[in-house]
């Protein structure tokens, strides 16, 4: 498409273009996607091996285990969110674009979610079955992950942008981002635990929704600011 054609596109069009491009790149580098997915599955399976197969114990730890594994897998995938574009200069082009950087960043986050978050959400209930969680708890698990993984991606994007091109970025990203993930973990895993015990989950899920909204307001803006700092 010509430059004029690009200029004619609205904000939504550019957003969609960013999402489409990232999805295309992800499809071509399928190994990245699959690694995250299998990391998640393997980590969840490690816990019973480390703790013992006693069903009551497993049922108790399941929400925490699945959620922590989701945190770690999400963080692993986030390390690659901006690195490729930073290296080949695309990120600089995005920053120079007339459209607000935060919209473009949101596009990259959405693509990242579709590629790494959604598979996690889909496989999590199956893993929950391995831990003998009841069906209602599994439903809550899916719901909590649906609310939570976007927050993980948004907060993680800020960390990924701050550590662009930095020595030891992977470990540093973990150090920066994992403490910020803690509220999501508490309410997400808490919701599943509560559901497994037959208790009310609306409080947990509302808290998750509130955190989601706060993240939506602040995180893309902070990510864009961090990218500009990294590009200076």
């Amino acid at each position: 498409m010509t430059a004029a054609g690009h200029a004619r596109r609205g904000l939504a069009g550019v957003f969609a273009a960013v999402v489409r491009r990232d999805l295309l790149l992800a499809v071509r580098r399928r190994s990245d996607v699959l690694t995250t997915f299998f990391f998640f599955v393997v980590v969840v399976s490690l816990f019973p091996l480390g703790i013992g197969p006693e069903v009551d114990t497993l049922r108790t730890i399941a929400p925490g285990v699945v959620w922590v594994a989701a945190l770690l897998a999400s963080m692993l995938a986030l390390a690659r969110l901006f690195v490729g574009d930073y290296a080949d200069g695309t990120l600089e082009q995005l920053a120079l674009a007339p459209q607000p950087l935060l919209v473009l960043v949101l596009g990259k986050i959405v693509a990242h979610l579709l590629v790494t978050g959604v598979p996690l959400v889909l496989i999590a209930p199956l893993l929950g079955l391995q831990f003998d969680l009841p069906a209602t708890a599994l439903q809550v698990m899916v719901l909590s992950l649906l609310l939570g993984t976007p927050v993980l991606s948004m907060i993680g994007a800020v960390g990924a942008a701050l550590t662009l091109g930095v020595r030891g970025a992977g470990g540093l990203l973990a150090l920066l981002v994992l403490p910020l993930y803690i509220p999501v973990l508490i309410f997400g895993a808490g919701a599943v635990s509560a559901s497994a015990l037959g208790m009310d989950v609306s409080g947990h899920l509302s808290a998750l929704a509130a955190i989601f909204l706060i993240a939506l307001v602040f995180a893309p803006w902070a990510t864009a600011a961090a990218i500009r700092i990294a590009l200076e």
Partner: protein, 248 residues
């Protein structure tokens, strides 16, 4: 005579000012600390339920309050730096971090030692201690990010943004941990529910807290002076200082 405060935004001017102020803050810290410990350790009565183990609170609470206060001040200077783009603001934030982390460490160490005789375990997953632990991670993250970026200007700004993101998160983290703790009916590290805390206990806590504040200011000012020297090392005034001051 009008005092132009803005001239202290210059590293050189602030260097002298800080140098003059530090001794006063150190003396204040020593006096307030001595008074606070005198009241807390010698005068205050023994607690009905916790015996004399409760006397740890004087240092624990002071350190915990300072750890949170310093983070707030640090975030403030980060915000000023990002908005007004003054070098000294970033330096001040960077100078505050290690002292803040130290306060957090003291709070965690003393909290653990308080928990053992009171609750039987070396670590209590209560809201305040757990939040202190997370605050320590935030401090370490700030310092690590700054250390990992070679370009000083980028390091300053990136770490500043991180501090602000952390500052927004701290209340969220605190409340979520509080919720988590009450849900799981954990123990809480606090003082006895006596009808009213003995006046001596309150006085002791206040004095030691003030002492910690004075000390933190002194330590941060000392650190920022070193930072100023290091960053401005090519300038004439720093070279004059290097030439004239005897370095043993």
């Amino acid at each position: 005579m009008s005092l132009n405060i803005w001239r202290f935004a210059s590293p050189q001017a602030f260097y002298s000012l800080a140098g003059n102020l530090i001794p006063w803050f150190l003396v204040a810290a020593a006096l307030l600390g001595a008074a606070g410990l005198y009241v807390g350790l010698l005068i205050a009565p023994t607690d009905a339920q916790q015996g004399d183990a409760y006397r740890i609170i004087f240092i624990h609470v002071a350190a915990a309050w300072m750890s949170m206060f310093i983070y707030t001040v640090m975030a403030f200077w980060c915000a000023v730096g990002l908005i007004v783009n003054t070098r000294l603001s970033f330096m001040m934030a960077l100078a505050l971090a290690p002292t803040g982390a130290l306060m957090t460490l003291i709070a965690l160490w003393t909290g653990s030692l308080w928990g053992k005789p009171t609750w039987g375990t070396w670590w209590v997953w209560d809201a305040r201690l757990t939040s202190e632990l997370i605050l320590l991670f935030l401090y370490i993250g700030f310092m690590s990010l700054h250390a990992a970026i070679d370009d000083v200007r980028r390091a300053d700004r990136a770490a500043a943004l991180l501090a602000l993101v952390g500052a927004i998160n701290v209340p969220i983290i605190y409340f979520s941990v509080k919720w988590w703790n009450t849900l799981h009916q954990g123990a809480s590290v606090s003082l006895t529910r006596a009808p009213s805390m003995a006046r001596a206990m309150l006085l002791g806590m206040l004095l030691v807290a003030l002492a910690a504040w004075m000390y933190s200011i002194a330590a941060s000012l000392m650190r920022v002076r070193s930072l100023i020297l290091e960053r401005e090392s090519d300038s004439d005034w720093v070279q004059t200082i290097a030439r004239t001051e005897a370095a043993t």
